[in-house]
């Protein structure tokens, strides 16, 4: 069942996830579960314990978490769900399964150093408010760092 599972994911499941005793406190405190009834972090942990990690990684559910870390605080077993979800997303992304909206955000940061464009309208408002001009964001350095990480490879693959 755990055949082919990346080593660090296997270790994380063994150290953290297996201690989940399915109490559901994470679900009760989860904002996404309130807005989207199919979203269920308890079930996600159950699937992982049962070895169905491929389904979890390829599904849409892991991308619906707001990373509010409430489940992290309320879990009586110290599972640290929100951290597990970040790890699952990282693995899914390496397998090319990241939603395009996420990659678009990175593209914006890689090309401008920021998540939002500096528009003429904002520049005018800043001037009107007597605010200093926005400084450069060190965009060459930001781009270089991204190139040096796994993220850079993901972006490259998406382009080609």
């Amino acid at each position: 069942m755990s055949e082919g599972m990346p080593e660090d994911l296997a270790a994380l499941i063994k150290e953290k996830v297996v201690h989940c005793f399915q109490c559901g406190s994470c679900v009760g405190s989860c904002p996404t579960a309130r807005a989207i009834p199919e979203y269920n972090p308890r079930r996600m942990m159950e699937e992982l314990i049962l070895g169905r990690w491929r389904g979890v990684l390829s599904g849409r559910m892991i991308w619906l978490c707001t990373l509010c870390h409430t489940c992290y605080e309320v879990c009586p077993q110290g599972v640290g769900i929100s951290h597990i979800i970040v790890e699952l997303r990282n693995h899914a992304a390496r397998m090319g399964l990241a939603p395009p909206e996420y990659l678009n955000n990175v593209r914006q940061v890689a090309s401008t150093g920021w998540t939002s464009p500096l528009t003429g309208a904002v520049q005018r408002i800043r001037k009107e408010l007597g605010l200093p001009e926005v400084k450069t964001a060190g965009v060459e350095e930001v781009g270089r760092l991204i190139e040096l990480t796994e993220l850079g490879r993901m972006m490259g693959e998406q382009r080609s």
């Binding site: 870390h69 997303r89 940061v109 904002v122």
Partner: protein, 290 residues
């Protein structure tokens, strides 16, 4: 008291009026703000952390290095930036192997993380300024104003890293609101997330979450919502205008960033801090000000 002022992206590029109020209010109570030359996006806690945690830490580390060179602690005004920079700072101080991997990447751009500074949020810094000193500057105490505080998520959690206020029963934002003479009211589901983290993949459901919160706040008869994060601000202030209710009139609840509320109490006028740039009108609140 001097800080490397980390602006992030959302406030300077989308909500510059918050930057204006923050600069005016903090300088008025004696905090010197040093601009960070070359600072970029913090590292981005939702998409970049989710795609590659190590890239997230590396981008944050670059910003930390700029403050280290300035020999100043960082002051953040966005809870996303706070979580990002604080996580990177604390994790690299704790884990030697992570720090070495990141420093190897940083060496390509001529930087090195040394672990010589701290990362703070605006509530924390105002706490350091001290209640007495803030009080001494107040010109217009906000008597009779009922405020619904929304502390938000990343200011407080994960507690293992953040270690700021109580992660589920915070008190510090409420205390700062009361300091200005206003009342910090109780309302159900106060600690529930605003839903901003869901906007990227499911805008409709993100809106549903904030609508739920706005309804509860509305029935608690509040004069305004007060928060400390630009993502929460977009959710409450901008999304509020887009929600159409079949059976009721549109929501009309003013939303202020804490430094805007503080600026009003310090005697700054609504026009000099640019309150006109809010999407949901703040007029109902201004009419009630003493």
């Amino acid at each position: 008291m001097r800080y490397a002022f980390f602006l992030g992206c959302m406030i300077p590029l989308r909500l510059p009026h918050i930057e204006r109020a923050t600069r005016m209010a903090l300088e008025a109570v004696g905090v010197e703000l040093l601009d960070m030359e070359g600072a970029s996006c913090c590292g981005e806690p939702i998409s970049i952390q989710s795609l590659d945690r190590e890239a997230w830490i590396a981008l944050a580390a670059r910003n930390l290095c700029i403050a280290e060179e300035m020999k100043a602690d960082i002051l953040t005004i966005c809870s996303g930036c706070y979580e990002t920079l604080k996580t990177a700072n604390v994790s690299m101080k704790r884990e030697t192997s992570l720090r070495e991997r990141i420093n190897e990447k940083l060496s390509a751009i001529g930087k090195e993380f040394r672990g010589t500074i701290e990362v703070k949020n605006i509530i924390e810094v105002l706490g350091e300024v001290g209640e007495e000193r803030i009080k001494a500057h107040l010109k217009r105490p906000l008597k009779g104003i009922r405020v619904a505080a929304h502390p938000g998520c990343h200011l407080l959690r994960p507690s293992e890293i953040i270690q700021f206020d109580d992660p589920m029963r915070p008190v510090l934002l409420d205390r700062l609101i009361r300091l200005l003479g206003a009342e910090s009211i109780q309302y159900p589901k106060k600690m529930l997330c605003c839903g901003a983290g869901l906007r990227l993949v499911d805008l409709e459901k993100a809106n549903k979450l904030v609508e739920m919160k706005l309804s509860l706040i509305e029935s608690a008869e509040t004069d305004c919502i007060v928060l400390v994060c630009p993502y929460c601000m977009i959710q409450y202030d901008l999304t509020q205008r887009m929600i159409k209710r079949e059976d009721k009139a549109p929501f009309n609840i003013p939303v202020l960033y804490y430094s805007e509320l503080l600026s009003l109490a310090l005697g700054f006028s609504p026009s000099e801090i640019g309150l006109r740039f809010h999407r949901t009108s703040v007029e109902p609140l201004l009419k009630k000000l003493p």
